[in-house]
Subunit: 229 residues, 2 copies
């Protein structure tokens, strides 16, 4: 029986839903919150901590100071501007952070092995496939193999949302049976400002997800007037 899960909690909609799903299904969840030096980490990390506290989860906060020195991306502090628009636009490639998910997964696996967990879980989803190589099904498939090999067969990788879109993730989160997912605490925006911009690809996709689910997105936006329901 699998009952201990280690996952990366970003404070966004996907990882919060993922975390909620495992709690709802009776797993013991150990989140890691990463600060990898992105522009939105400050606000995202605050959200992640609030959500972990809300669910009384015993989380680890890990600051990856080295990322700013080695990984070039417009998503990082000191990088170029965050593009506006949809994930399908070519300019979104500027937001790729080289090797991010492999680094996250390798740290999750190390922690999982140390606390004798069974699973590491990733919140990657179908909306990420076009832009991010480390969110594609092929990557997840070989990641399973490498984590198995690295841990002598002890740890499985799960990516439950791999083939569904953000609106379907939200639908899953809204229909959990035993717990409530605190979406009003989540943070999705890529920009370095307190209020979510409502214009970057991350915000656009989130707003669309709430619209499709006919639910109000209860966070405040800077450029988006009124809620989505």
């Amino acid at each position: 029986m699998h009952n201990i899960v280690v996952l990366a909690m970003s404070g966004g909609l996907d990882s919060t839903t993922l975390c909620g799903w495992y709690i709802d299904h009776g797993y013991k969840v150990y989140p890691i919150i990463f600060d990898y030096g992105s522009k939105h980490n400050k606000y995202e990390n605050q959200a992640a901590i609030k959500i972990c506290d809300f669910w009384r989860l015993d989380y680890k906060f890990i600051k990856l100071n080295f990322m700013k020195d080695i990984a070039k991306s417009n998503l990082m502090i000191g990088g170029g501007d965050i593009p506006e628009g949809h994930y399908k636009d070519a300019n979104m490639k500027m937001t790729v952070v080289p090797g991010r998910n492999l680094i996250f997964a390798s740290i999750l696996a190390s922690y999982a092995e140390s606390i004798k967990a069974d699973i590491i879980a990733l919140g990657v989803h179908a909306g990420d496939h076009f832009v991010y190589p480390d969110c594609r099904p092929k990557f997840i498939s070989v990641l399973k193999d490498v984590v198995k090999a690295s841990t002598d067969g002890k740890i499985n990788v799960e990516a439950r949302f791999l083939n569904i879109t953000k609106d379907q993730i939200l639908k899953e989160g809204l229909s959990l049976r035993h717990i409530m997912v605190p979406y009003f605490m989540t943070r999705t925006c890529y920009k370095d400002q307190e209020l979510s911009c409502g214009k970057c690809a991350a915000c656009a996709e989130r707003l669309e997800a709430f619209k499709i689910n006919k639910k109000a997105d209860l966070i405040n936006y800077k450029n988006y007037k009124g809620h989505t329901s």
Copy 2:
């Protein structure tokens, strides 16, 4: 043509030889020196920096502060005692650091992609297979796949010493054509003391390698009297 290599330089015999091999064969080498909180990192890191300076390599020094919080091992500061004896002994499992090579490789790959390198190189060898899952051929095979997938096919993983033993690595290093490998600067011992102990599995294997190659090991040992030639 492949000509830029990123590798982890530990300051030990294997990674120093690996680094030397790539320099000797005309590659441009960008080493990363990791401090992951092991007992021997202090002395090992000093050696690595000296060797990089000796070869005038532009290295990155990366401190993985989080490792002590997530990875349990007798090799780490705060962990149990370092066992003495041979790598084939069962008690050497206490020196496994969960996920270490996967974490290193993922960071190497991220850096490699950012600087448009072609290869990440690992110094794992046949002597490590018994104890460390993340040094076995199966691990390296799936690591190649995951690094390819993560970097959209841009980065190859090479592990030139995968199927040879430490004495054969030393033989390769001693027979390079264009450069000298400064073995007198390397550091192999697992213990937290300035002079190498000469008794831990790492020291024992190193001394054996020099003996087989009929060469003097020019570092000073605490418990080992006289050189090996």
